[in-house]
């Protein structure tokens, strides 16, 4: 019985090994694995964070570049800055939508920041030699300390410093890294003397859970990005930041040497058209209307007459 199966066994063994080799080859040859530096110089690799809004901007860049005759390799949703920054620095990604202040702080822990223009200028010097940023957009998606409108009117809150008016315990919510960031709960305590009762990490980058927790009163103060359509939909108030606790975070493309003047011109045109309200609106289409990034991008680029 077994000798009869010998041929069959061998055959299936061969097939199995073949499949492994094929799939392994497939895996390492997968464009997602390593950018296709060998695949000819004309392909531009566009990356995006694992953040829906960032993906929309990356898709806008990609479609605009494609309309300008470039071939684009999309490598979207590739994690947080910690994951993709080494790849950008190594020149494996050619275009990446970034945020001026956050990127600056990632590159230089001692950065001073300031106004939007000052931050942009400082970022230009902080970047490694083979990288540069193109024009920054008016649109920004920066961190904010946000409360509900009710909470704000109860304690007469306008700016971050006014949080000292609050007499009830304040629980803070946001991504886990917030706790150690220079604008985190510790800074609120040390810089403004605001008493913070606790920190609740919610790993959705100010997304639906954070908003729900804020609205439900589980937390009183949340780190929500200013371009989040939820601020409008849920009647939230982003406290103003006159002291520049948060760095300005204007949207800006970080590009490699591969981006020539004509490609740069295309991206600069996009940035010029990308206003703050536009970004909130694009995000709302993703969250509220559940549209995919490519549809949102095409519709906006067409409307803005960029493609």
């Amino acid at each position: 019985m077994f000798t009869a199966n010998r041929g069959r066994l061998t055959l299936i063994g061969v097939v199995a090994v073949g499949a492994v080799v094929a799939l392994a080859g497939c895996a390492s040859g997968d464009p997602l694995a390593e950018p296709s530096s060998s695949a000819g110089g004309s392909t531009i690799v566009v990356g995006s964070q694992a953040y829906y809004s960032n993906e929309i901007i990356a898709e806008i860049y990609s479609q605009a570049l494609e309309a300008g005759g470039f071939t684009v390799d999309r490598q979207f949703q590739i994690g947080q800055r910690e994951v993709y920054l080494p790849d950008i620095e190594a020149g494996k990604i050619d275009v990446f939508p970034e945020y001026t202040g956050s990127l600056l702080q990632a590159l230089d822990k001692a950065a001073v920041g300031g106004t939007s223009d000052a931050t942009y200028a400082e970022l230009q010097t902080a970047l490694p030699d083979d990288l540069r940023v193109l024009d920054q957009a008016d649109a920004s998606d920066q961190n904010s300390w946000t409360v509900t409108a009710d909470f704000a009117s109860k304690y007469d809150l306008t700016d971050i410093a006014s949080l000292t008016n609050v007499t009830e315990p304040i629980t803070v919510g946001g991504n886990s890294e917030l706790e150690t960031r220079p604008y985190g709960p510790t800074a609120l305590k040390d810089k403004y003397g605001i008493s913070i009762a606790g920190f609740v990490p919610v790993e959705d980058s100010g997304g639906p859970l954070t908003v729900k927790a804020l609205v439900d009163g589980d937390i009183q103060l949340a780190n929500i990005y200013t371009a989040d359509p939820n601020i409008k939909t849920n009647n939230l108030v982003a406290l103003s930041d006159p002291d520049g606790l948060f760095f300005p975070d204007n949207v800006v493309p970080v590009v490699s040497q591969k981006i020539d003047d004509s490609a740069a011109a295309i991206l600069n045109k996009v940035s010029a058209a990308l206003t703050a309200d536009t970004l909130v609106d694009l995000n709302a289409q993703s969250k509220n209307d559940q549209l995919s990034a490519d549809k949102i991008a095409t519709a906006w680029l067409t409307k803005a007459k960029l493609i």
């Binding site: 947080q80 910690e82 886990s176 706790e179 150690t180 606790g198 609740v200 990490p201 790993e203 859970l209």
Partner: protein
């Protein structure tokens, strides 16, 4: 390897051993969460498994369901339930209970099935009631496999409970996410080592419990024992996944 020294430095740093975010607190949270999850899962899975094992009915359904349950990705269930119920531990409890049910269920019914039917018949013949058969015969004899199932479930829950920190300020997983975000590999690895140690300690506890509670002479669950006492047929490969197994690590 620099991250090994970083890990060691993180583990011995006294600052990490105190306060609300300190190792003892997080360890206690992790342990408590694991125990509660196991208790809830056991309350659901053990009676169901006994019923299936005792009557021999509903086995196909249970096998199919626990196979599908096992394929449910915990991260997906966790995020979905979190959107429904918000922050806090409710979503992790639901997701991890679902993870823990299949091994316990399988342990419970395979434990009963592994018992020689002649023993059951003998118990019936000497006039035992069905309840007595379950409690006095099937339960003690099926215990090794039930404990085995609980043991697998424990290991999975301990390792996978780290994902709970994705949405809650909770447990040892917090060190992993925090370390990931701020690129502190010492913290991340230190947290992982604590999880592994906790898993090993719990394994030891289970081995001890098994020694203490399993009646002498019951061998059904011992690894070397391959006697096939069950007269109930158990097709292996023609049904959906069914083995009472195993550390399916579906974080």
């Amino acid at each position: 390897m620099s991250f090994l020294t970083e890990t060691l430095a993180w583990l011995v740093d006294p600052a990490n051993w105190v306060g609300a975010g300190g190792i003892p607190t997080r360890l206690a949270q992790h342990l408590l969460f694991t125990l509660v999850t196991l208790l809830v899962a056991a309350l659901i899975a053990v009676p169901t498994g006994f019923l299936i094992g005792h009557t021999g009915r509903g086995r196909g359904l249970a096998v199919a369901l626990s196979g599908a349950f096992r394929a449910i990705p915990t991260l997906g269930l966790l995020t979905l339930v979190a959107l429904w119920v918000g922050i806090g531990l409710n979503a992790p409890y639901v997701a991890l209970t679902v993870l823990a049910i299949p091994p316990i269920l399988a342990g419970a019914y395979t434990g009963f099935e592994a018992i020689d039917r002649k023993i059951i018949d003998a118990a019936r013949a000497v006039g035992m009631s069905e309840a007595q058969i379950v409690l006095k015969v099937e339960l003690p004899l099926g215990l090794p496999l039930l404990i085995g199932g609980l043991r697998s479930a424990t290991l999975q829950v301990v390792a996978t409970a780290t994902l709970a920190a994705y949405i809650a300020n909770f447990g040892l997983g917090r060190y992993l996410f925090e370390g990931l975000r701020i690129r502190d590999y010492g913290e991340m690895l230190g947290g992982s080592i604590l999880v592994i140690l906790l898993a090993i300690v719990l394994e030891g506890v289970f081995a001890l419990v098994q020694k203490l509670v399993v009646p002498r002479g019951v061998t059904a669950g011992l690894p070397i024992d391959i006697r096939d006492g069950s007269s109930r047929s158990r097709p292996v490969m023609e049904s959906t996944i069914e083995e009472g197994n195993s550390h399916v690590h579906s974080e």
